[in-house]
């Protein structure tokens, strides 16, 4: 069973204090960053730091993700050689524009896994942050068995389509929806772009609510103080969980009684409603650690 990815926290890959505390922030995933958060002259030290952290620090049930450098950077191979370890769950690959980009990474990864006797395949998340990447969302999502999510990079995307990020976020609505639909069609998670103003928690809440309404499973974060708000927004409320349980009970009762048409509170319950109820119960159970 895939774990929840409601909160995915970016952590600079060359900051030992934050890397060692990755487990205490209480996000679903930590993304140790070798790309934008690390200057070119410190790529080597960050890579070596993460190599040692991955095998020595126990991150428990937190998903451990590393964002490597892009395919066109000449750094990707060295990044993978250092960080491909059995303790690594997932690799986030930036600037993915096409399915072929993922296939290239997949091939390199397969070779390194074989050389290192890693039996459980490391998963991939594509960071889609260009117009071309957004247009190819479905084919990227379906490009490899390793693909487990697309993470949307709103800042780079906005620059690519020659506009600016706003608090309302209308300039990224189309891209967000296109990514959600592509991911859903391929059966993988869609993770929303970070909210970059770390001091504006009201703005963050509005942005996260919008992402949830559009269908994202969760959101990437750039500060630990964003975790609680986003976690709360993406988790089902007690009211939603109670409703979902009543729907499932009504279905079970109707099946026992051999009824074809089911209603609850005077409203007909059809397959999409049942699926939504089951999904809510599933998320709630994962939050409680039942699944």
């Amino acid at each position: 069973m895939e774990k929840l990815r409601q909160t995915m926290l970016f952590i600079p890959g060359n900051n030992p204090g934050m890397v060692q505390n990755g487990v205490v922030f209480d996000s679903d995933s930590v993304i140790f960053d070798l790309e934008d958060a690390v200057s070119l002259k410190e790529k080597d030290t960050a890579r070596i730091l993460l190599k040692h952290a991955l095998v020595n620090i126990d991150y428990g049930s937190v998903e451990v993700v590393v964002r490597i450098n892009a395919l066109d950077s000449d750094l990707l191979n060295e990044d993978l050689e250092a960080i491909v370890k059995p303790q690594l769950d997932t690799i986030l690959v930036p600037k993915i524009n096409t399915a072929d980009d993922i296939k290239q990474v997949d091939e390199i990864l397969t070779k390194i896994e074989k050389e290192n006797d890693i039996e459980s395949p490391i998963k991939l998340i594509a960071l889609v942050e260009t117009a071309l990447g957004v247009e190819n969302a479905f084919s990227i999502a379906a490009s490899s068995e390793r693909m487990t999510a697309i993470l949307f990079g709103g800042e780079d995307f906005t620059a690519d389509i020659r506009t600016e990020r706003t608090d309302r976020g209308e300039e990224i609505d189309y891209a967000r929806s296109r990514i959600v639909v592509g991911c859903r069609a391929a059966g993988i998670d869609a993770i929303d772009t970070p909210y970059s103003d770390i001091n504006n928690l009201d703005g963050l809440a509005k942005d996260a609510k919008r992402a949830k309404r559009l269908g994202f499973e969760g959101k990437s974060l750039i500060s630990p103080k964003q975790i609680n708000i986003v976690n709360k927004i993406f988790s089902p409320t007690e009211e939603e969980v109670n409703w979902a349980k009543r729907v499932v009970r009504a279905i079970e009762r109707a099946e026992k009684e051999g009824k074809g048409v089911i209603s609850l509170d005077g409203k007909m319950i059809d397959a999409p409603i049942v699926n939504r109820a089951k999904r809510i119960i599933n998320i709630a159970a994962k939050k409680e650690g039942v699944l």
Partner: protein, 88 residues
């Protein structure tokens, strides 16, 4: 393995360690200086990590200075490895 130039890796941030490395002539051995905020509690352990890592990387002659700000063992090891690689 021989060092050919001076180098450093790490920082003086909390939980990090700054490792400075200089080449030494053959048969000089390892000259080690440790400065740590936890020298009384972990000085011996830091020395042990440095010696093990240098042996593993086959470094026999070097001057190493460690300025530790409460780094974990794996951070110390990582910064030594990075400094040595930069010095080669």
């Amino acid at each position: 393995m021989k060092l050919i130039k001076s180098s450093q890796a790490g920082s003086l941030e909390s939980n990090d360690v700054l490792v400075l490395v200089k080449p030494e002539n053959d048969n000089t051995g390892i000259k080690l200086e440790i400065d740590s905020i936890v020298i009384n509690q972990f000085g011996d352990r830091i020395k042990e990590i440095v010696e093990q890592k240098l042996a593993a990387m086959k470094i026999e002659n070097a001057y190493i200075k460690i300025k530790d700000k409460g780094a974990l063992d794996c951070t110390i090891e990582a910064r030594i490895e990075a400094a040595i690689k930069r010095a080669q």
